[in-house]
Symmetry: C2
Subunit: 218 residues, 2 copies
């Protein structure tokens, strides 16, 4: 019985890692659409999101089956509930990628991000994509050290977001209000993707160690 439980739990975590890889692809393609103004790539991100939604439903169903049929307690119970939370956050990261793709699509045939802000925006996108990529490995390997390391990268994203505000609020800004608003919202979306990545990684730490890294000061 317990062995079957842990096999099914492993299968849920495999699914979570798979969803995380789909999110990684969504972030990468949304950024490509954003920086090239490619409507077709933006559409791919938007239409692929339904698959992430479906995968979430499937994980939720499996988790409920585990809770109903196996009646886990203590650590096992908390692990299943953590999986339910992780899948919600991963789905949300997919939605945020769709928001990025929609801003890209809205500005076609132009590119939403003016040339001089592209270095900062590209860094934000790269940090977000890299964090999502590492989260799928963290889930697969239940890698506590990598998860705690990821939490520290959140600060890099905060710095980049501040840098983008400095750029768009400078006296030299001559791209108008629309581009500034786009960049502020895009920054918010990438920042939220990074926040969720850290949160998912923290849940892996909790699943493995029973402790939340945010409350033990790691």
């Amino acid at each position: 019985m317990r062995e079957a439980f842990h096999e099914q739990l492993d299968s849920v975590f495999d699914d979570l890692a798979g969803i995380c890889r789909s999110v990684e692809s969504a972030v990468r393609l949304a950024t490509e659409a954003l920086l090239t103004g490619d409507a077709e790539v933006a559409e791919r991100v938007i239409s692929a999101d339904v698959e992430i939604d479906r995968a979430r439903e499937s994980v939720e169903e499996k988790a409920f089956q585990l809770l109903s049929l196996q009646q886990p307690v203590a650590g096992d119970l908390r692990t299943v509930v953590s999986a339910l939370r992780m899948v919600s956050e991963l789905e949300r990261m997919g939605d945020l990628s769709v928001h990025v793709a929609k801003i890209a699509r809205l500005r076609v045939p132009n590119v939403a991000v003016p040339l001089e802000v592209q270095p900062t925006m590209t860094k934000m996108a790269t940090v977000a994509e890299d964090m999502v990529s590492r989260v799928s490995q963290i889930i697969t390997g239940r890698d506590v050290a990598a998860a705690i390391e990821l939490g520290r990268d959140d600060e890099v994203m905060d710095q980049l977001r501040r840098a983008s505000f400095v750029e768009l609020l400078s006296d030299d800004w001559d791209h108008g209000v629309e581009a500034a608003v786009d960049i502020a919202l895009l920054g918010r979306y990438y920042e939220r993707i990074a926040d969720h990545a850290v949160s998912v990684a923290n849940r892996v730490v909790f699943v493995v160690t029973g402790q939340d890294p945010r409350t033990v000061g790691a």
Copy 2:
């Protein structure tokens, strides 16, 4: 045993309604700080958020106790898991109120929202606060009809957000980039508060009827 379970579940839902009232207060005060530039009111919202976080932890603990000790199945299990999700969303609504308060605080002694955008922004804030207020009643009364009604109000928020974009992207806009960016982000925060309110209300429908109103086309 089943009676004890349902009493404890009622107590969890009472706690959820209480957290929702705290969120309502946070939304109201954050808006007051925003429209008056009152730093002291903004600080109150920011420092009160820790109480919402603590209340969330308490509900999570109670829900885990229920799952561990009572081992609910079927509908009861889904209700407890729904409660866990509702409390996450309520806490998030509190965080979003803090974001509004922080923009207010950042612009003190000025007011972040230019006079001509205040009508639209006030409407967004009023709609958000009203939705949160109704959600606490929906939780208390397990009021399915009111919950379904609430879902329809989300459209009002979308219209207001579009109206605010029309204002800040118009040729007449002469408040600069900073105010435009503030308004775009504030609109995003109020919209997210409304989204979460609808989601919490939908979970009440699910708890009472076993069906998610989004999937049955209500």
